[in-house]
Every structure is written in C-alpha cells, then in structure tokens.
Amino acid sequence: MAALLEIKGLSAWYGQIRALFDLDLTIEQGGVTALLGANGAGKTTSLRGICNMIRRAGTTIMDGTDISRRTTEDIVRMGVAHVPEGRGTFVALTVEENLRLAFHIRRDRKAAERDMEKVFTYFPRLKERIHQQAGTLSGGEQQMLAVARALMLAPRLMLLDEPSFGLAPLIVQEIFRILRRINEEEKVSMLIVEQNAALALELADHVYLLETGRVVMSGPSEMVKNDETLRKAYLGY
C-alpha cells in the first residue's frame, strides 16, 4: 500500500499556546487510521492542522503534492473531507440543501447526482427527512448528515472528528457500521479521531497514540488491542 497522506513535523498553536509537537503521521491508501488519546492530547488539533484551519508548521504531502500552504477550501477540493467536531450542520438549511452544497465544487453534475442517490442508500433516514430543516434533526441524524455531506464531496480521504460524540450506543454502532461500508465500498481512506478507543480499534487498521501533543506510540491496531499494558496506560480499559 502506498501512502495517501504523509505528515512530517506537524506543529500547531492556539494563540501563543503550542498544542502539537512535530507530529509524524502516514495514512495508507484505502486504510483507516485512528488517532487516540485523552482530552487535550491534540487529536482535533491534528485534523485542523492538516486542513490548515489553525496556525501550524510542518509539511503535509497528499499523493505527492505538497498541500502545506494551501487554503482549507483548496485542501477540501483536492479530496480531503473533514467531518468536524460538533458536526458543522447548516441548521437553517434543509437536509437536501446541506447535501447539495457539494454541487458548488463538483464539476461532474451527473456523478454528483448519482452520489446523492448513493448517500441515501447509506443513510436512508436522511432521505426520509430530506425537506426538513437540518437543525431539527436529532444528534445522531446530524452526525449522519455530516458524514453524508463529506461523502458528497467524493473524497479520497475522510477526516472524522469524534463521530461517536454525545450519541447513544446503538446509533454509534450504526454509524460505525456505515463508516466501515464506506471505507470498503467507496475506497475512501479515513483518519478517525476518537475518545472511544475500543470502537476506533475495531474500525482502524493502524493506530497512533497521542499524549500532550506528541505521538507516544504507533502501530497496527491488532498490536494495541492485544497489549494490555498499553491499553491500560493510554486507553483506560
């Protein structure tokens, strides 16, 4: 497998405060990589750094192209879809408008229409609510909408920021099942940030452990799953 995204020496700051220290990270083509760690470890910051949403330094290479200095919009247009913390719903737009927004940057209208149909096969619930104001959706539905919106961009890489946050266990399981299908059927690579380590380890094939803005360990998820000391020390289970 070739690397889709290669990150070297990624650092990031919130004002004067440095939140990330020289992060090195590689995402394989077609793979699912998980970024685990406690609160404040720098997981969300890493995703924001990749998308140039904060002050950052270091290089990001996407499929051979240096995207370190591109704007967020351009990075998205290159095929990196970020499902943000808090879901980023356009609350006053309808569900359909939330999804159709992707048509703004899609040049292939026909393919985009097909993607819209496909999105509804993954998330039939969104189709039922298609004309509803997105702000009236439940938390789980809004998370589905956020993933669906990202999928509408026909991405090569999806950055998922805590898709399980604040949701009931059954909904979380449903969403993770769909994420797996998207990864397998659409060949979308994923970088997923999670507090729920057990869940992320199920989905991911590679894991990075973060602590206070530094990578403390990385390896195949099987290895982390089977290493009790590691789990106890960093993942709390």
């Binding site: 919009e73 943000p84 356009f90 927004l101 992707a102 703004h104 940057i105 104001q133 702000g135 009236t136």
Partner: protein
C-alpha cells in the same frame, strides 16, 4: 377616500425604495454581522454615474444596466481591497471604515458633480394609470422594478448552487470552508449584490427626491428601519418591512403627526419592534437541537 388611496400608493412607492435599501443592508448583515453605513452613499454615487451617462446621451435603460454592473463591480472591489484585510479586525475598526467610505463617497460626489440639486429622468411617464389622479405609472413602475429584482434574487438564492453556497457561507463560515466554499469570495459577492441593489434604489428614488450628494441620508434611515422591522436576518422580511415602513410613515405623516416628524416615527417603529419582537416581525427563530 381619494386622498387615502393616494397616500397608500405614495407609501408603497417609497416603501419599494426602502425595501431595496433594507435588502442591501441585510445582504451584508447576514454574512458579516455588520451594518454598512455607506450603503446609501454608495447608491447615491452610482446614481450620479447613471446621471452622467444619461447626460452624455446614453439611453436610460442602457445607463441603468451599466450602472448596476459598475455598482456590482465596485462593491466586489471594496470588499476585496478595503475590507478583506480587516476580516479579523475588531468591529469598531470596521465601523470607522464604513463611516470613512460614507464621507469619501459623499465628498467625491460633491467634488465631481457639485452639491447643487439635479433633475434625474424617470423611465416611467408621470401620467395616471386610471385617469383619476390616484396612482401614477411612475409609482407602479418603481414597485414593479423592486418586485422583479426581488424575484430574481429569490431565484438566485433558492435555485442556484452559487446562491446556496452564499447562504451556507453566511450561516456557518467554518463549515462552508470544509465543503470547499471560498467564503471570502462569497462575502465579496454579497457586497457586489448589495451595492447593485443599492444602485437600483438610488436610480428609482432620484426622480422623486432629486439628485444631490445627500439624497440617500434619510432614505438609509428608513431602509434601516424597514430591515429591523421586518427582521434584519431575513431578506424577505426586510423587504416586507420596507413596504410597511413606507406605508405607515406616509399615513402617520399625513393624518397624525405631519410630515416634519415622519423620520422620528420610523425610529419609534424601530424601538418598538426591538422591544417587543427583537428578531423583527418576520424574523425566523431558527430551531436548533443539540
């Protein structure tokens, strides 16, 4: 009764113009949370351009179209060159910037075209529609142009992806960026549209109040009142608000308080609405579940 109908017609005509101004204000407010104080002066300046063109022998509708295009381009230019560097500046810096724009346009117009009042041609004849002195073609024309523009804008914002992208950028800039929308350019487009709408308002009002560099000062206040009464975050509400302010202002002025106090009545309406229903009469309260 005739007098009453005349007042309603005149009120609707004024209201149409206030509605345009209100719409221009809302266009910028929804995407940036700022009130563009220079909206009126930009409109006045555009009207002078139209006047200069017509004076040079260009036909009315050609000058009308050209002015709208120029106004759109200058709105875009102002956002790109003057306001973009101030994107992260505190609100007060922007207020100063808007006031500077206001006085620059005002002084510039006076410098180029002098402060004497000029007559501005109307494309609509002054004669009556029904021959009984109640409603003039001019009045119908002004209202029609406003409604037509409103329809075009509605179609643009509801049925085009660019319009959708602009709405998304106004609502949630971060999220819009993550959908690949170039938010800063959407703001610039908003400025362009607001400026073009303002130019239309200026050209519609100029035949009624005559053209001079201070032509839009009062109208901006009425437009602002219209926007607040209808709901500053809701374009359709702002238009409705413009018409409401226009009609009420005229009726109250003619029957109750006299023309001198009309402007204060507009301000009383603003205060009243803000006290009783801060989102405006048609202000939509957005349902949000977390």
């Amino acid at each position: 009764m005739d007098f009453f109908i005349q007042q309603i017609a005149a009120g609707l005509t004024n209201g149409a113009i206030y509605a345009c101004v209100a719409l221009g204000l809302v266009m910028i407010y929804v995407s940036t949370d700022h009130i563009n104080f220079a909206q009126g002066e930009m409109a006045m300046f555009a009207t002078y351009l139209a006047w200069a063109m017509i004076d040079a022998g260009v036909s009315y509708w050609v000058a009308f179209g050209a002015t709208i295009l120029i106004a759109f381009a200058s709105g875009l230019f102002i956002q790109r060159v003057i306001l973009k560097p101030l994107e992260t500046a505190p609100v007060l810096a922007l207020v100063v910037c808007f006031i500077a724009l206001l006085s620059i346009f005002n002084a510039l117009a006076g410098m180029i075209w002098s402060f004497t009042i000029k007559q501005f041609p109307s494309p609509f004849p002054q004669r009556d529609v029904f021959g009984n002195g109640l409603v003039s073609v001019q009045q119908i024309g002004v209202v029609t142009v406003t409604l037509l523009m409103l329809c075009l804008l509605t179609v643009f914002f509801r049925f085009t992806t660019l319009g959708l992208a602009m709405r998304a950028a106004a609502q949630n800039a971060t999220s819009a960026r993550l959908m690949g929308v170039r938010v800063s350019w959407m703001l610039a487009l908003g400025w362009g549209l607001a400026s073009a709408i303002g130019a239309i308002a200026g050209m519609l009002v100029a035949p009624i109040v005559f053209l001079d560099p201070n032509m839009m000062t009062g109208i901006l206040v009425y437009g602002f009142a219209g926007a607040l009464v209808g709901g500053i975050a809701n374009p359709l509400g702002a238009v409705a608000g413009g018409f409401i302010v226009g009609v009420l202002e005229n009726l109250v002025g003619s029957y109750i308080i006299g023309n001198e106090l009309k402007l204060s009545f507009a301000l009383i309406m603003v205060v009243g609405v803000l006290l009783l229903k801060p989102a405006g009469i048609f202000g939509r309260v957005i349902v949000k579940r977390v």
